[in-house]
Subunit: 235 residues, 2 copies
Amino acid sequence: MDEAAYLAAYDPADFPPVAVAVDVVPLTFSAGALHVLLNRRAEQPARGRLALPGTFVRADEDLDAAAQRALRDKAGLNAPVRQFHAFGAVDRDPRMRIVSIGHMAVVDADTIAQATAAGDTCELLQISGGAVRTASNRRAALPFDHDAVLARALSDLRRDLDRDDWAFGLLPQTFSLRELQALHEAIRGQSLNKPAFRKRLIESGRLEATGEMETGKGFRPAELYRPARINHAAE
Amino acid sequence: MDEAAYLAAYDPADFPPVAVAVDVVPLTFSAGALHVLLNRRAEQPARGRLALPGTFVRADEDLDAAAQRALRDKAGLNAPVRQFHAFGAVDRDPRMRIVSIGHMAVVDADTIAQATAAGDTCELLQISGGAVRTASNRRAALPFDHDAVLARALSDLRRDLDRDDWAFGLLPQTFSLRELQALHEAIRGQSLNKPAFRKRLIESGRLEATGEMETGKGFRPAELYRPARINHAAE
DNA sequence: TGAATAGTGTCTTTCAGACAATATTCT
DNA sequence: AGAATATTGTCTGAAAGACACTATTCA
């Protein structure tokens, strides 16, 4: 049997009973801390609990597209997404075997504030010490394996912090070096040296000065920067 | 409907028609270069061509277990595996929609030589310049999206080279610093400074001197090292 | 003027690269 | 002895941390 004949006779019903989903970790940075946007589940299982937005992957849809659709449908948000890990433990979902491809989404605080204001099914929770905190700073547990998914997202975000420009998405389009340093400190969980941080980031070529200044603060305004347009990966 | 009732009524036949597979990139290091073990496909599609070993994931099997089973069944090899990326483009397989979770496997050269000698369905091909080379050093193209899978495996291997001990698996249980340096140079694609490399690796605490010496070479024997048993991640 | 932060200069420490000198084994 | 590589020492330059000093804005 040649390949064409084989494919004509191939029956997709023979595929194994494993479903594919995506879960999205929508992150943002505000008030000096990372935050994650959680969705209150409308359906069983875990109905009424806060969880990461997710959805099943459609047959004609790429993984990233499914993640963006989940984000749009459950949080009314359009944001760039990036896959970081696949979660496939046999018992991770009570319904059936579901392999979920974990995606991160990065959003600036203003955009995410609009999304949370628009509907009441989403809540923005602070992340502290690698775990989600409620308003009273109590550790909140997520359903399914979503605590592990979030932890892995944060770990991979930290790993790639100095390797690419992905984390810039957590800030507004322009930002001061103080804000950028606060972001790096929140992600890495340690304070950084100011002159060294400034020199390193500016000389990395990943930033571009806008010439504009901060405004409205009660002290000397800082210059605003944006991610450099040029891709330095080609060097 | 409460959660228990919902789960009782849940019909797994409703899951979307997307299949889950694993593809394995079995890597080793010999003769100063990385090599990948490829499997000559016994079935359609791409029958007779060399491809990465892979298999569908069973409903009661974790992702890593599926990758190890593929390696065992198609290459007669037991080796540690590590997931690195999920590949899910809609048209990546001509049969149907298949999302494949890419896994790396690391094997030392002696073990992999036994596996290739045992059967004739596998071939060990050299990797050079990020692509597979035949014996005559010509660039060989792999079926499906396996060229992209391999490229991503190499890229992630390089990224994690100084972050964890995973790449030690590409060497025998004990090895000289010269062999380790050659491995790092092959993975990074650039030559390294010898004294700096030695100092950095020894002082990293990731290595343990065995006190044993190399033998059988026509020159001064080097001390043999092994990966340190202690996990330094807890510091 | 004072508070608060921006931005910079300098000193020190750490670490990698360059280069070379000495040590050890086998033929 | 000679070949080949192991191992170590020293010098140099680059980068980061510590600390402090000057600059700028608003109240």
